[in-house]
């Protein structure tokens, strides 16, 4: 019933969108970055916290994104009941480092959550993220029930025109997207854009309605993250997103950071390609996102800082 109604709305509004043409006015305007601040920072060779601190410095410091008194959400990937060394979830040390930094910048509260795929309690626990984030001063929010999600319109979405998004995302001042870099059997890759599936309630809808397009549609919501931080400390190169065993995991010791979600994913993908070949054209949602002008895959146009530690 809900889906049928939704499809009607989707069909009607896609027609409207077609007639209306480009809707660039609706795009959230990005803060104009000062000239000497990087668009994209790539770091390799360090520990998660050290790499983060180095990268954020290159990005102009966390205070560029988090202002005093703001409520901040840090959204890692906590999708699976797996341990940190299995690389199915974001590195807990990285999450903790970001939380600490936000609080240092004067955030009134930092919230960490995910809509997990496995049962949420063991995911929160075994990923090490709950403990690490709490120790760093964050509040852990729940995401396992539909009641925590609210319906919002996605006017720029092509297939996904509406979705139930987690209230913490909708109610916070700013949020930071912290995915882990992994291979994915369905979406091919899971990086920053794919990480949005953890703020949506009905994930089945995405899978059933052209997954790649829906992932891109998700990244057109008005409440976009102020920063995308891709954890590539350990990466899952095969059998993602859950992995079979240690043979799927490589210790890559890298981190990527960008305000441009497409650029962040492009950079991470190119890095990933050195471990296992993966073409940009293979990952549908990144290509679609560029077409939809969500961001750019042309890294040469950006001011990029590459740091080896």
């Amino acid at each position: 019933m809900e889906r049928r109604g939704f499809l009607k709305v989707a069909a009607a509004s896609s027609l409207l969108g077609f007639l209306g043409g480009g809707s660039s006015i609706l795009r959230a305007s990005e803060p104009a970055s000062p000239p000497n601040i990087n668009d994209l920072v790539a770091v390799m060779g360090g520990e998660p916290e050290a790499m983060y601190l180095r990268a954020i410095k290159e990005m102009g410091g966390i205070s560029r994104f988090v202002k005093k008194g703001q409520r901040v959400v840090v959204k890692p990937n906590i999708g699976w009941n797996k341990k940190p060394e299995e690389a199915a979830n974001t590195n807990p040390q990285l999450v903790a480092a970001i939380v600490k930094d936000c609080l240092k910048a004067g955030a009134s509260e930092v919230v960490v959550f995910d809509h997990t795929c496995d049962s949420w309690m063991p995911c929160y626990k075994n990923s090490g993220i709950e403990a690490a984030a709490k120790a760093a001063g964050a509040r852990i929010a729940f995401g396992h029930d539909e009641k925590y999600y609210r319906m919002v319109n996605i006017p720029r979405g092509v297939r996904m025109k509406q979705a139930k998004i987690h209230e913490e995302i909708l109610d916070c001042d700013v949020w930071i997207n912290v995915p882990v870099l992994k291979n994915h059997g369905g979406a091919r890759m899971t990086i920053s854009m794919k990480n949005f599936m953890g703020i949506v309630w009905d994930r089945k809808f995405l899978h059933a309605n052209d997954l790649q397009q829906c992932i891109a549609d998700c990244s057109t919501i008005s409440k976009m993250p102020v920063l995308n931080i891709v954890d590539a400390y350990r990466i899952m190169t095969t059998n993602g997103p859950v992995g079979k065993g240690p043979e799927d995991v490589q210790l890559a010791k890298a981190l990527f950071m960008s305000t441009d979600i497409v650029a962040a994913d492009t950079a991470a993908l190119k890095f990933f390609s050195q471990f296992r070949e993966m073409k940009l054209s293979d990952v549908g949602h990144i290509m679609i996102a560029e077409k939809m002008k969500i961001g750019t895959t042309d890294l040469d146009k950006l001011q990029v800082s590459r740091i080896k530690m």
Binding site: N81, R139, D145, F205, H207, A208, E247, F272, Q274, D282
Partner: protein, 510 residues
């Protein structure tokens, strides 16, 4: 002395009732089951689980009965304690005269007919009759179907007031048969106990009849001595209505060892006496007749009891089977549908223990004789790979304990993939939801023709039937992948291991 004993009995029984009931509440599945061992101290579970680790508990319960009579009924049985609470509460609304119990002759013919009707099918491997009448199993169903929902509602109200501290708990499945059974039984025992104390225990309850039959041989029995002046104080307090003061006789088979009479007597005229071999000393003809009758019943009870145990040892499967209607999936540890049917009395301890709340009481999935037995439903979630909770809590031996490692290879069913319904085939778009959720790598994504798409490939030997794929499959109205339960659980194969290739890189790649 009896006063102290009685209060110890009351305190102990309340404590046991509370801990036992807590086992059936939703939060029991988040903490280690500290009290699951208490479930094994229940009579029917210990009898059915005698060959699977409950022998000790069974022997303790039998010895306890041979010493002091039906201590189980007064102290360990949750329904017994609950009925005492109801009687006590009901007496507040009764006149002083109505509050007093009177002696009743009892309904022995009814008791033992019920017992035979329950125990014979049980010997034949059919647990349904005892499942319907066993007080513990009923208490389990009442706790999980009724009380737990109340507690969940309270939890969810609190969670809506303090959303950051308390989390919303999803309601478990609505199960018609189990819910009705719980409501009916609760109403029946409330009526019985409000009107006539332990009437259920002494007319219908099969456990009461078994232990009553054994009490005949108890070493210590309650007796009335010469101090008695027939003041009727004990009679008026006897919930079992088994004290015949006029003839100075107590029907031991109905006495639930509650000690109320002994505590109430002002003249110390009633108490436990060492009664070994005393029974033979009865002189009157009538006494001998009653004696003979009692012995016959005791022998009948013992016979039925040993029949049940022997049938378990001989692994006699269900002798009668009705046709199963739908696809049932037995929880991990069940070994086979047969083993489950032989042992499960549908107490729903496993259902309450499941953190994912995917175990639900069956309707006719196992056939009529398996009504209310646990079956898995992947509608709202799937079986967590690293979880073995259900197998750990079963007191009956219907689910045998599995270690996490054993559980990970326990194949309770196999997925069945239907290409025609698959999103990748049907819509020509990427999906891979099943592969994403598959914990065993039974599903892998392989290139699909020259489309650039990837499509699932299923290895049924590696599949354990956890239902993650079925749960997440977005195809509708018919799912492209569903799990078919195994009638006999198997050990799944492990997915082939690949060599790890260490890759060292120095560049960013862009």
């Amino acid at each position: 002395m009896y006063k102290t004993l009685k209060w110890i009995r009351v305190a102990l029984s309340l404590l046991i009732l509370i801990i036992l009931t807590l086992n059936f509440f939703y939060f029991s599945n988040t903490s280690p089951n500290f009290s699951a061992v208490l479930l094994k101290f229940q009579f029917v579970p210990s009898m059915l689980g005698i060959l699977t680790g409950s022998a000790l508990f069974f022997i303790i319960l039998i010895i306890l009965t041979f010493l002091f009579g039906r201590v189980y009924c007064s102290t360990l049985c949750p329904v017994g304690t609950f009925q005492d609470i109801v009687s006590r509460f009901a007496s507040l609304f009764k006149s002083k005269k109505n509050r007093r119990y009177k002696y009743s002759k009892g309904y022995d013919w009814l008791r033992y007919s019920v017992l035979v009707l329950v125990m014979l099918p049980l010997i034949g491997g059919i647990t349904l009759p005892i499942a319907i009448l066993d007080p513990y199993s009923n208490w389990g169903r009442i706790s999980s179907q009724l009380f737990d929902r109340g507690v969940q509602t309270i939890n969810n109200i609190i969670a809506s007031i303090f959303p950051n501290t308390f989390y919303i708990n999803n309601y478990s499945h609505f199960a018609l048969a189990a819910l009705l059974a719980a409501i009916v039984f609760l109403l029946v025992i409330i009526c019985f106990s409000a009107i006539r104390g332990r009437l259920y225990c002494n007319t219908i309850c099969p456990v009461g009849s078994i232990l009553g039959g054994l009490s005949k041989f108890a070493l210590f029995k309650p007796e009335i001595n010469g101090n008695c002046n027939q003041c009727m104080l004990c009679v008026s307090k006897c919930k079992s209505q088994c004290i015949d003061v006029k003839n100075h006789k107590i029907d031991v088979s109905r006495c639930v060892a509650c000690l109320d009479c002994m505590q109430g007597c002002n003249r110390n005229a009633i108490g436990y006496r060492f009664a070994f071999k005393k029974v033979e000393n009865k002189s009157s003809e009538e006494g001998k007749n009653i004696d003979k009758q009692g012995r016959r019943r005791a022998i009948l009870t013992l016979g039925l009891l040993s029949g049940v145990v022997a049938a378990r040892a001989a692994k006699i499967g269900p002798l009668v089977r009705t046709k199963a209607e739908k696809n049932a999936i037995a929880p991990p540890g069940a070994v086979s549908f047969e083993n489950l049917k032989n042992h499960c009395t549908t107490c729903h301890a496993c259902i309450s223990a499941c953190p994912s709340q995917i175990i639900k009481p069956a309707l006719l999935e196992y056939g009529l004789e398996g009504i209310m037995m646990p079956t898995l439903s992947y509608k709202d979630h799937f079986c967590t790979y690293e979880c073995n909770k259900c197998s750990q809590v079963c007191p009956n031996g219907a689910l045998l304990p599995l270690s996490i490692e054993e559980k990970k290879l326990c194949q309770i069913g196999k997925a069945k993939y239907c290409l025609k319904e698959c999103i990748v085939y049907r819509d020509g778009t990427d999906c891979g939801a099943c592969d994403e959720h598959c914990p065993t790598n039974a599903i892998t994504m392989v290139p699909y023709k020259d489309t650039g798409l990837y499509i699932p490939k299923l290895d049924r030997n590696v599949c354990i039937g956890c239902g993650a794929c079925e749960y997440i499959c977005p195809a509708s109205p018919v799912k492209a992948i569903i799990v078919i339960g195994n009638e006999e659980h198997q050990i799944a194969m492990e997915a082939a291991k690949e060599e790890k290739k260490e890759v060292k890189i120095d560049e960013f790649g862009f």
